[in-house]
Amino acid sequence: MHMADALLSPVVGGSMLAASVVVAAYSIKKTQNELDEKKIPLMGVIGAFVFAAQMINFAIPGTGSSGHIGGGMLLAILLGPYAGFLTMASILMIQALFFGDGGLLAYGSNVFNLGFFTCFVAYPLIYKWFTRKGISPKRIFWGTLISVVIGLQLGAFSLVLETLLSGKTELPFVTFLLLMQPIHLVIGIVEGLITAGVVAFVWRERPEILEKTSAGLPLGKVSMKKVLTGLSIAVVVIGGGLSWFASTDPDGLEWSVEKTGGTTELEASSSIHNVLADIQSKITFLPDYGFKTSESDNEVKATAQIEEVWPAVNTGTSVSGIVGGALTLVLAGLTGLIISLSKKRKEKATL
Amino acid sequence: MSYHMLEVRELNFDYPDGYEAIKNISFTIRRGESVGIIGANGAGKSTLLMLLMGVLFPKNGQVLVDEVAVSKKTLPMIRQQMGMVFQDPDDQLFMTTVYDDVAFGPRNYLLSEQEVNQRVTKALELVGISHLKDRAPFRLSGGEKRAAAIASVLSMEPDILIMDEPTSALDPKSRRRLISLLNSFEHTKIITSHDLDTIVETCSRTIVIKAGEIVAEGKTVEILTNEELLDHCGLEMPLSLQNCSICGSEKDFFTEKTKYSTTNTYGIQTIERDCRVSLVEN
């Protein structure tokens, strides 16, 4: 469940990045004083473990698709939410850099989807609730399973929102939702079982690891206020995103409303749009992109025009487009060829 | 500077699962001394070394380095003086090239890149793996890894050198090279090995542990020719000290010879090794 660069608009990507940075900064502040020589390698190891687990794709029976686990809950339970969130951020950075899984711009969004909802929503609200009277295998099992499922559902939901807000795909909201949520329910259950097994095992073999985390972190006891803060951040981010969605891409919105028969969610979002219409113009940091549907921008740039004008495009432009495009590619290829040829020649000369 | 470099006082250590690995161990090591620690498998040698380095912390007792007790607080300071080669070299190599791995320590001292380069080059040469410097550590053979691990500690130029089975996995020539290298150092050295010939050639004093306790301590040759003691501790007299069935020599002569051989360079003492008769009835 990685958000990909290509599906994301810079605005959504950027704001999710900002949100993640805020959460990460907070987490860093919280973890700094409790980190000792045992915890740092532990973070790395469990991070590596989750990373490896994310690489294993398993087929989801009946859907013909495959998925992989998120691992955020495992991190939260074994490391505590703050260290867990940071570790998730490292994992995703490596995924993005080495596998192009997700991407640098989608980084913030991925960290948020996979890290925030698990570490700062599901963990304190659900897992902690189940284990509030101490840890037992049964409590570990149910607490883990349910919190994993819910954390993943939230993450998937958020991913759907972000994708749609970016307006790169034509998937109607509800269809996308109906696609993502059940898949992630299945993944969630599998992941929940695995996580529960791992946590139970670690608890049995190395209780000191679990106890340290739950003792070291006040989250379980203080909770509600902080959790609410967390939740409200989430709401702001998602709500803000929704507004962009509504404003950036009314076409897509109307279109999907048409197709899916006018669902309430979408109507709600258009009303948020109205409310936040002016906020949006202030937050915009890439003014030439994404908001160009606002009437005034029409004359701006060739590219922008082509984009909007495309359906009515005339033959002349498209021929030029195709010729020019082909030439550009050939040119790019030639550049490469020339560079490597001249390199080889140089090598020969030096030999 | 103090006379005692390293002092261990009534050390006790239990592993988290409750296993009592070290029981009431005390000893002192003077500056410049080289001490061998021997014992059967599972005697507690590696555990003891890790306690000395502050990798593990004792349940009771203290380790004092230059009269400073090893604790979480003093650790950074104390570790600057000590370098340890782990039993498993895999634990020690974590960078992407051998060069970077050997440079890791010096770089942490914030030396200039030029100095770092000097140290690394020297360390690699000393253990004879200059040709491996651009290879990735995880792509090396077992013995090459061991050599790289040793180099990575040598480059730090520690005052106290602690080595857990440094010669294992090394080929005979590299082993010989390491031994003469160790003998050329003025450092304080603490070495464990099951290759008792290595101990004979590098250590003047030897401590024998068994099941977490010290059972004997003394001059290396005396300890390593005490067959009863060795047998009791799961050990065996090293070949270089064993008598040959045909000719013989006296113990005294022998002791001197060994002392001499420790300052030797490559190969000499293998020729001058002596033969003695039947100190032992096997």
């Binding site: 990909a4 660069d5 490596i94 984009e307 | 770089r107």
Partner: protein, 269 residues
């Protein structure tokens, strides 16, 4: 088993590439990081019907690949590996957007156009990220992050996680090898031992990670990673950064292929 080994190997390919010393490798890591971020932002700012205007952006990866002497194979493979999700999502575009448009007598589906646009973006973006790491390496990249004042603990965490991924995958492949040697007739691992297998894996990896960290600490590591190879930013780096940015901006604001194309068609006519 072979999968895990090969993914380990694949991971390390990028490390190996990062050790080369071409002129791109010598560019300051921070410069490369910034250039990549600018590149991604510009590419992703293109609208969803845009295809032609994106094409000039292939210059960037191609130039890097050739100048930095990066073999195409491993990079392409990874770009393809990252594709399924994109395709999975993107493929719905043609399905849902069946509006058509016609150009020079051919009928195009708008859905396919947007799909293609997504694919192109994904190719160049994934490619650019991979090239960043393949020409920089994790250690130097971490140093660049430190220069951006990313907190020490996060960078340390990032590096350790990265190191431990190797440790873990090594442990997995060792364990699976050992398993398969003593269970010659089985394929894969019997579900009966999954539990203890994974459990062992975790504990072993914990221990190993702890020992590795210890040995780092024993060599005076205090959280700050010194790669030792990074020089100061110099004018060359500036030229690199601004050169590329200039190109990106020109390519973003002008539809270069279209200009070339109309020039050619005019000449032909």
């Amino acid at each position: 088993m072979s999968n895990i080994k090969s993914s380990l190997y694949n991971l390390r390919v990028l490390d190996d590439l990062a050790r080369k010393e071409t002129s791109i490798h010598l560019v300051h890591p921070l410069t490369k990081l910034l250039t990549t971020v600018v590149f991604l932002t510009v590419v992703l700012s293109f609208g969803r019907y845009e295809i032609v205007g994106l094409l000039p952006f292939f210059f960037y990866p191609i130039v890097i690949i050739t100048v930095a002497e990066i073999p195409l194979g491993p990079i392409l493979k990874r770009v393809l590996l990252a594709m399924p999700f994109i395709i999975g999502i993107g493929i719905f575009n043609p399905v849902f957007d069946q509006q058509t448009m016609s150009a020079f007598g051919l009928i195009f589906s708008k859905g396919w156009v947007t799909f293609l646009s997504i694919l192109i973006k994904s190719c160049v973006c994934v490619g650019a990220s991979l090239l960043l790491i393949a020409t920089t390496g994790m250690d130097s990249l971490a140093a660049a992050l430190r220069m951006l004042k990313v907190p020490k603990i996060f960078v340390l965490q990032l590096l350790l996680t990265y190191r431990y991924i190797y440790v873990l995958i090594e442990e997995i492949s060792h364990m699976m090898l050992a398993y398969s040697l003593r269970a010659p007739r089985q394929r894969g691992i019997h579900p009966r031992v999954w539990g203890s297998f994974v459990g062992q894996l975790i504990l072993r990896t914990f221990d190993r990670a702890q020992r590795i960290y210890d040995s780092m600490a024993l060599r005076n590591f205090n959280g700050e990673y010194h790669t030792g190879k990074i020089d100061k930013n110099c004018w060359k780096d500036m030229v690199y950064l601004f050169g590329w940015c200039l190109f990106f901006i020109i390519a973003r604001t002008n539809n270069l292929p279209m200009l070339i194309g109309s020039f050619i068609t005019k000449v032909v006519n």
